[in-house]
Symmetry: C2
Subunit: 664 residues, 2 copies
Amino acid sequence: MVDEHADGRRRVVIENVSPEIDGGRFAIKRVVGETVEVEADVFADGHDSVACRILYWQDKAKRQSSPMKLVGNDRWRGEFVVSTIGQYHYTVEGWIDPFQTWRNGLQKRVAAKQDVRVELLVGADLIDAAASRAAGEDASLLRDWAQRVRESKAQARTAAIALEEDLLNLVRRHPNRELASRYEKQLCVTVDREKARFSTWYEVFPRSCSPEAGHHGSFRDCEAWIPYIASMGFDVVYFPPIHPIGRSFRKGKNNSTDALPSDVGSPWAIGAAEGGHKSIHAELGAPEDFRRLVAKAREHGLEVALDIALQCAPDHPYVKEHREWFRARPDGTIQYAENPPKKYQDIYPLDFENANWRGLWNELKSIVEFWIGHGVLIFRVDNPHTKSFGFWEWAINEIKQLHPDALFLAEAFTRPQVMYWLAKSGFSQSYTYFTWRNTKQELTEYFTQLTQTNVREYFRPNLWPNTPDILPEFLQIGGRAAFMVRLILAATLSASYGIYGPAFELCENTPLGPGSEEYLNSEKYELKHWDLKSQKSLRNLIASINQIRKGHAALQSNRNLRFHPTDNPSILCYSKTTDDFSDAIVVIVNLDSFHRQSGWVELDLGGLGVNSGHPFQMHDLLSEGRFLWQGSRSYVELTPESLPAHILHVRRWAHSERDFDYYL
Amino acid sequence: MVDEHADGRRRVVIENVSPEIDGGRFAIKRVVGETVEVEADVFADGHDSVACRILYWQDKAKRQSSPMKLVGNDRWRGEFVVSTIGQYHYTVEGWIDPFQTWRNGLQKRVAAKQDVRVELLVGADLIDAAASRAAGEDASLLRDWAQRVRESKAQARTAAIALEEDLLNLVRRHPNRELASRYEKQLCVTVDREKARFSTWYEVFPRSCSPEAGHHGSFRDCEAWIPYIASMGFDVVYFPPIHPIGRSFRKGKNNSTDALPSDVGSPWAIGAAEGGHKSIHAELGAPEDFRRLVAKAREHGLEVALDIALQCAPDHPYVKEHREWFRARPDGTIQYAENPPKKYQDIYPLDFENANWRGLWNELKSIVEFWIGHGVLIFRVDNPHTKSFGFWEWAINEIKQLHPDALFLAEAFTRPQVMYWLAKSGFSQSYTYFTWRNTKQELTEYFTQLTQTNVREYFRPNLWPNTPDILPEFLQIGGRAAFMVRLILAATLSASYGIYGPAFELCENTPLGPGSEEYLNSEKYELKHWDLKSQKSLRNLIASINQIRKGHAALQSNRNLRFHPTDNPSILCYSKTTDDFSDAIVVIVNLDSFHRQSGWVELDLGGLGVNSGHPFQMHDLLSEGRFLWQGSRSYVELTPESLPAHILHVRRWAHSERDFDYYL
């Protein structure tokens, strides 16, 4: 346990450093400009004062440091800002501070009226030692000070000189770190661009974008949709796979195994004679059409995200070229995907245990790099939990070294440990259980776990009220009001959310059958023709909500999510604020999409930066209503069919009554 | 993050292994014969079954393994027994189990009446693969089985053959661990002898053992006390330092700085012209007297523990021989101990930052080795937190490599992180805050932390109701009943406890002054003459309680300490059981040493192994009273002046009514 070559004179201990994921095995995550608040237990034997600091650095850059302060009970805290995309490292360094120790003692001795002659000489030696570590003006100032302490005759005056605050600050600038201890681990931060934290996604099938019903849409058709999507305030437009679709065992409408020749198949059955993951389905267009679409989207403030689904249709070129990447069955056929007794004969999974796994890893990574070459930097990864974990950790790390602005969203709807492991391995964002969390208790518990525990250091939730695979029962039975509730929850509980449209804004909610979460006539297996101008569309509400998200920094992070008690189980109340309370939003949602609900909410005013003695204005950003509240308890009443929620901007009594009048 | 040379085909992930202290930086602690229950999150991508096991080994011994079972949500659990004193290592290994995966699938396919011909061939291949890893009878059994599966014609019958439980067990004996993952850390267990967990200490000053008042006691006098101490059921007798006592700045009675020539001084002011830490104070006797005393104690079931106080009186030989081990002051004197403005001029602390720190470390370690050479294996270390932490970790580790049965008790009354750090560094037992925890809430919170969190893996509490340094206010004001309360709490809350006697059993409780925790006329500075036969002595109660501790395994460990609610804040109720409930003790204490208190206790019967539908007998081991209880709620009433507690042995309704009658 003890290193024979270590210097046994290093007396400071540093432990329980946070944030730290799995003993430093994984990086924490931040976006550019954010702060990393570091805490540690730092102490030494005996009664000597200690001091400590954070050391942090980027891969090849110089080490920087940031001071730490005692918060109590041997716990120290400091922070640093990550200002550049990429990897940062951090650790903690601590050392004995003999001058501070000596100074504390001197104060007590002076107060006890002791003879401090020898003590003052001890102090002068310490000041001289600091001088010898300093240079220039500091050195000569310190030497002068030491001399004054040595030469002054009157003890009381000398002690006063030695205790001057300026001297303390001067000595502190030149600590003796020869015997400093360094925390044994170097911890890591992955710094992403801001979109990793704050993003608003719209999923759309380009093949359904044709203006004419029954026609296969193209990238050109999709271009025409860009202004529509942008007008709702989205900033990521995500396409299901755009590659050639397999013909063998192609699925027909409603996932039927008997496809008609006219059936278009599932975009996730990737690969045909004309190409695989690096090719584009012919009817969508040519590579230049895709690049045009990416450019057009960018003009409208939208980034294109592509789907990475690492599986092959039986016609995929890999099947011929790399038979070794698939598992053979004793009858000579290739093992198709299955979840017994279900069989998915249109899909061959890749065998990550094959002997040529290095070849496979390199090829799969090159798919992502290929599309980065086409201007795409955001990838929604299909079922990453059914591919080897080691591959993801390696591939994401490799790609981000060259493309640190690449982002990966993990579509893993599986057990919690697996979802968290993928996030720790490098995924920038993750799908969540939000899709099935409907009650006040479910939402409170789940989002407390995601935002108030260690999980928040590496798992960035991206909430989806629906996906092409999931039409949740809540939407099936709750009608338009249910869509409004789930939209508002998704958009305000998390800084990142997305919808599968236009199914969502058009409140499409017919399931394949009772107990099924599949859509009837699912877009996964056929072309759809959507009436974007429908009266029941939620596009205006979506636009309002996304506008509110853009205007309120509090909604662009999950750090300060906090739930507030209400006396009605159907009324959920939570708030988000910036760290400095310069922005504070309170959301109150009626979770019952059928009935008017009313009750009392009990706000934790301190958590909103509100002085409990002053009235404050609540400005409903959805209805434009303005309410003057005072104290923590307020009555609310929400009617599902009109608007099932308040999104309240807290306007605090600023500086004078005049300001307050102005707000009203 | 990803090792380029690793085999990317290892698909199993192992994380969150417990117990694990500070990411494996420190060992957990056990005593011989105890179990280490290991848990881990183990999972792989996709839907394949996984299997895992604990690997454990002693330094040079062969690796052993123990199976782990799924407890739910990807969490696995197993255990192993540590059967030898010394160091054990453990880790977790996991692998994909293709046969189990295949078997689960086959069951579902058969239930769905699918054609399973090819599946059966897949299974036969898997069985053959297991055969190739097996030898002897297993190999041929497996090969036969594979052949039967291949050759059998009727699918239903073949499937039945392939699904036989015996086959599953046979294949499981020969798993393919080629691509197994190993948890990246090797964790460590320090295995001590049983006394590390269960010990009963008596502290006594040998110099006060003279039968004649005013005479300096000797080891020979102390021999006469051994039967008395043993009669109370103690198994460790601990002596304050037995070394020559310094003369310069010697402290007089009541810590006076003006000692008279007749004053004997503090045993902790170690060292004089005639010797230091390896010498014996002349008036106590010669080395052979000490060895006789150690032998006499052993005859009575008592082990002698010595005090290791690493500090020097100004007369200590080290001060001349190793001036470099002490800190010089600018006036040429040596820095004495101080806690400004208090000065302890009779004590020189050692300077652990001196350049010859290696020489110092080796010498200090040799002190412990010297006394091990005299038959002592238990050391109570005085103020370890004022010596360098690195020294302790090194020294205890070095000593235990040669003497794994050596035990160290840390007398560190300081901040929690420091106390825990010392325990993690290697101390076998630790003093605690028990001395100042008096109320129900204080005791419940503190002992829940010590016994129900990770702390229990490395911190073994040793409770002291008093010490020569501490006469707590509770004893000062509460009289004899207070001594009884604190004795019972110490002896039953913790498997290890100790008293400073005879001050304790004689209920000595006069403080130096108001607000002081020092004894008036403290034995630290003068010889005492104790009346062991005093009427008010608690020796019979102590003997009873220690007898109960010896007879009840539940009281010999803290693992299953559990608090039960009561409706009276002065009544504390807790229980201890063995893991298998073969022994269960309920303790109910009246914490108010002045008034009779009564109330209802609400037992968690499940936590006692009691069937809530059956009556059970509570046998008060102190009063010999027997009560028939049923259900969780019972009324109790405790009178401080008679007996302020019940120590109840739970006698469950065993097998028949006849058994039960017998108990009554």
